[in-house]
Amino acid sequence: MKALGDLRDYAVARVVGPAALRVQRWGNQWRAWRGSGWESAYLAPPLGVAVRGKEMVARHWLAGRYANRDRKVAWITSAAPVELLHALGFFIVYPENHGAICGAARVAVDLSCEAENAGYSRDLCSYARTDLGSLFSGRTPVGRLPMPDLLFACTNICQTVLFWYRVLAHQLRVPLVLIDTPFVYFETAPEHAVAYVQRQIETSVPVLEKIAGRSLGMAKLKETGTLSREAAHLWMEIMQRNAHQPAPISVVDQFTLMAPVVEMRGEPATVDFYAAMLREVDGRIAEGVGAVKDERHRLLWDNLPIWYRLKDVAEMLGAGGAALVASTYTNAWGELADLIDPEEPFESMARTYLYPILNRGTGHKLKTMRRMIDQYSLDGVLLHSDRSCKPYSIGQLDQRDRLARETGVPALLLEADHNDSRCYSEAQVANRVAAFIETLER
């Protein structure tokens, strides 16, 4: 019976499922080619490559359903040194990405309620609540989440992940490997911080190897590092193409198209995917196609997306001729590409993973925003004040004031939450955005 079950799962995961997803992609590509199914008066249709990205992500989650049968599974935070785990053959799940999928599918509140009913405060990060709710209820829009053999957390995005993963470690009785990355308050991290991170990465290897049941091959690690760097470079190039006017790819599209560089960096398919995307973006530039049909204003987005209102926000802005051209969030997945050195994997991982924007000071973010305003010729900034993501949000009030004062570029604070739609007021956001666009028109 078990053999039959295994065979069935194998067939679904490796043959039937992927084939069905491929057929679905062909259908989507056909519809995209004919221009059918796209109804926005203000926004260009998504990039053609988006259907391929969707298929990659869907395949990943499909494989995930059966991953526990023949792979070691790691649950990992989004900016952790994933190259190690790829090189050791782990199947990788990003609970934050899963949270985002739940948010976009508008099931996050339901799942959060499950966590809240179990005693988790509504003031906690809504990704964490969503995922804990999914774990407690067994419900997920991806079908089935593979259970972890390993939890791998890196504090370079927030301390919250450590508290969250401690809960997971307790609940699931699974080992937690922690890479603690001291917060970088000043321009550079002190050398003892780099040494600390490097030592942790190195000492994690035997633990990971034991769980993986295999040794870490340096050649494989280098190859993974190289692929990771290539994908991050390509992603950065794609974003930089938005210096063109009109901008060929909106930040809203970037939010969904960044999934592979977050969860599949280090894989050859990810490099191919972004190479194809870059070609398509260049094609758009050659044809003068913009993500917003009548681009009159170019905006910067700060903080996580509002996953459950992505399209609405894009439409709202598009109606006013405003394109979201750049974002500190999507930028974060490309800006460190140059730090990855596959020849010096441990030291370069230590440096790379110390410097994500979320592990740096509020002044650094202001500097980054100023640079982006110049680089992308932006005329406004939207700062999403994200109720349950404090590390990204603290400092935004000063950043808003300083941007307006020092660059003359108006900046608007939008109160919401990345996953919890109960913190989103449709009317208030619409009014504030409309008033903001009016300011830009003056």
Partner: protein, 368 residues
Amino acid sequence: MQPDVNVAPLPSIPRRRDLARAHHERGGLVAAVLPIHYPRALLRAFGILPMEVWGPPNVDAARAASRLQPYVCSIVRNALSFLESGGLQIADLLIVPHACDSLQGLGSVLLDFVHPAQPVLPLYLPRNPAPEGTAFLADEFRALHQRLAEVTQRTPSESELMQAILDEEVADDLLRRVHEQRPTLPLTTFDFYHLVRAREFLPLDSFVSLARAILAMPAVKSPPKIPIVLSGIVPEPMDMLRAVDELGASVIADDLACCGRRLYPAGRSRDPFMRLAESLLGGSPDSTRGSPIQDRLDHLLGLAHSTGSRGVVFHDVKFCEPELFDLPVLRRGLRDAGLPSITVEVDLNDAVSHQARTRLEAFLEMIA
């Protein structure tokens, strides 16, 4: 209802402002120190008087509203409000240890945007309990030592530093004994915390004398009526403690970040920085140090069992992620072990609500 203890006359505690003035007159500097963990002895070796800033409660929180969103905890918001309203003018420098995303954000906002008159010295607390974490913290203290030398224009010798550490270890040991002796001390819960929290700002000698005076108090014979454990970050607003006393209960042990989680054991190394790091990381499990929840649960159960406590009150600051994440597992674990618990969520600027008091009363009645 009156508390069932023989209340002894309390040793008097000087005011912070007077202490700071006297310290300045002696040529020393005063450091305002934000929560939670920091190397007191290192500051003292430089002749600096540390004065901790846990909020403070009941300040005009609106002062911080132009810089911090309302979903940031009141400890952080109040600290900024207090600074912006001139409350920290007595301080010559600000130390901002890293405890959570919110304190991290505050440190960064101070450095990048507020630019207070005093130098701001951040300090990162390692979350990795492995030896790498201790070695990193020792290095972090070395870096702080260097910054303090720049600020104070003096450099204590290694033996001076070691002496400061040894002196502080004496005070730490006395504080631990005061906590252990709590069940027999003739003090109300309110008075107990009023006294032991003086450790947050008293000069070393004054605290040592105070601790000795407390330990010399005559022991009460009858145990408190309803012994409970208090867990959380800080026992503010202190009115909550008055309520505990009035309702006939007594906090007999605590797992508070500002009190029981800072009963540091002495370090072992001869290297002063390593010794400081070992001591600071040797305290009882703490969410802000990233301790495993099981360790916290075991510690809470141990506290309750060793003191005969009948229940645990979680006194949590609203929006405090480190504590709120651990809470459900801790409460479930306590319940499974037959120990009831209750959560009271507070904002440092709000008086203890009627509702909170009623809930506490009901809880105490249940466990009495």
